[in-house]
């Protein structure tokens, strides 16, 4: 079969463009990987500061995993547990999933919640981010002290004018976090206490 020179030129041109494009995106990935990780870590750090009680440790370095859920513990300087936080996802938001960081106290009541990702309608569903009064209505409550539904469904939590689906999804997801804590209570506390890193001994083996 005769291949004419134009065809070869086409293949070479596309090949060169593809290689250069791959190299450029690869290089960018190399340079941005660390800043992206840092930005995500900083965003998580901010959110953790808001949902956890005062603590002396770094919850991100002491995280543990229970049933595929990453749990961030908050501890005082003497090692006493003051709170736990983990992320829950509400898959049934008005537009896509809502990711919520839930901070709990050891007595299984909510310390605070923060929305870390959502695509809800500005001015309607995004009250879950802007409405501090509503966010605060979770604080101090556990599974027994509240009916975990919006008022329209016969529960204790406000919905917003024109937006019921979003708060309903968030309330349900937070309730899910409380139930998760209820079910795995012992396992979570055990893992969290085991993971404790002695404050002045952070050498990674090798000294034996």
């Amino acid at each position: 079969m005769k291949i004419d020179r134009d065809q070869i030129r086409m293949v070479i041109a596309l090949f060169v463009v593809a290689v250069i494009a791959a190299a450029v995106t690869g290089l960018t990935n190399m340079f941005t990987r660390e800043p992206i990780a840092n930005a995500q870590k900083a965003a998580l750090h901010n959110a953790l500061q808001q949902v956890l009680p005062l603590h002396a440790n770094d919850p991100q370095t002491e995280k543990v995993t229970v049933n595929d859920t990453t749990i961030y513990p908050a501890k005082k300087a003497n090692g006493q547990l003051t709170g736990l936080a983990w992320e829950v996802t509400a898959p049934d938001g008005y537009s896509g999933s809502i990711r919520i960081l839930v901070g709990l106290r050891p007595d299984a009541s909510v310390q605070a919640i923060r929305i870390i990702y959502h695509r809800e309608t500005p001015g309607l569903g995004d009250g879950i981010v802007k409405n501090n009064h509503w966010l605060d209505s979770f604080t101090g409550h556990g599974l027994d002290s509240r009916i975990w539904k919006v008022k329209k469904d016969g529960g204790d939590f406000d919905q917003f004018t024109g937006a019921t689906i979003t708060p309903r999804a968030v309330v349900k997801a937070v309730k899910g976090a409380l139930e998760f804590f209820h079910v795995h209570h012992d396992l979570i506390l055990e893992r969290v206490m085991l993971a404790q890193i002695p404050a002045n001994n952070t050498t990674k083996g090798g000294l034996h």
Partner: protein
């Protein structure tokens, strides 16, 4: 065309939104606030400058039959770079615009400029064109975002304009409001353009009358002499 003509053409006469009605997806999707509109526009400007630059550099080198896949590969690479950079250094805005950044690849305005302008013009002219088209697109996004934010929430760039008692007109935040607001903006642009046209016609007409009068005077003078 000289540089200022290229700029005026790209920014206004051939504006992606007002004249060509292209790029509707990001336009209607992200313009719930002025700030979102602005940053979406800024990301588009960067991609457009990069793609026009590269395409005009390789014009004549890439065989005609494969130019479209080559341009799309170039644009997709640039968009990926912008996306990663935003994720790294503008994390919060990245979370807001997230879904729409990859969609810049399929903003036909960008491929359109590569095909219609950058592949036929010098590097400098292509850069001017990219800047003009990009700022024109950003202006449209900013305008629509501002109108929707103002009417929908009584705010502009997050600052309260109409005060706390303003009843949020949610329709303008929701997709139908985007179409309605865009319709009125386009009507306004058309009225403005028609006025400008009329004015320049009148001026030309007046000039013609003056010229005719002058010619008649000259003729009269010639006859009388």
């Amino acid at each position: 065309m000289n540089k200022s003509e290229i700029f005026a053409d790209g920014f206004w006469h051939n504006n992606t939104v007002f004249a060509q009605l292209l790029g509707m997806c990001p336009l209607l999707g992200v313009t719930t606030s002025a700030e979102n509109g602005f940053w979406m526009g800024a990301a588009t400007v960067i991609v457009l400058i990069g793609s026009n630059l590269v395409v005009s550099l390789v014009r004549g080198i890439i065989p005609k039959n494969v130019r479209i896949p080559a341009y799309i590969t170039i644009i997709a690479a640039l968009v990926t770079v912008v996306e990663m950079a935003m994720n790294a250094w503008m994390h919060e805005m990245y979370l807001v615009l997230g879904l729409f950044i990859p969609l810049i690849v399929v903003n036909c305005a960008i491929l359109g400029r590569a095909e219609a302008f950058a592949s036929k013009n010098s590097v400098i002219d292509s850069l001017v064109d990219a800047l003009a088209i990009g700022t024109g697109f950003t202006f449209a996004l900013l305008l629509l975002g501002g109108v929707r934010e103002l009417l929908g929430q009584g705010e502009l760039f997050g600052f309260s304009v109409f005060g706390a008692s303003y009843p949020d007109v949610l329709m303008f935040i929701l997709p139908p409001g985007a179409f309605i607001a865009l319709g009125f903006i386009l009507a306004g642009v058309n009225i403005f353009n028609a006025r400008m046209q009329q004015r320049s016609d009148e001026r030309a007409h007046a000039a013609n009358i003056a010229l005719a009068a002058l010619a008649a005077d000259i003729a009269a003078v010639e006859v009388s002499s």
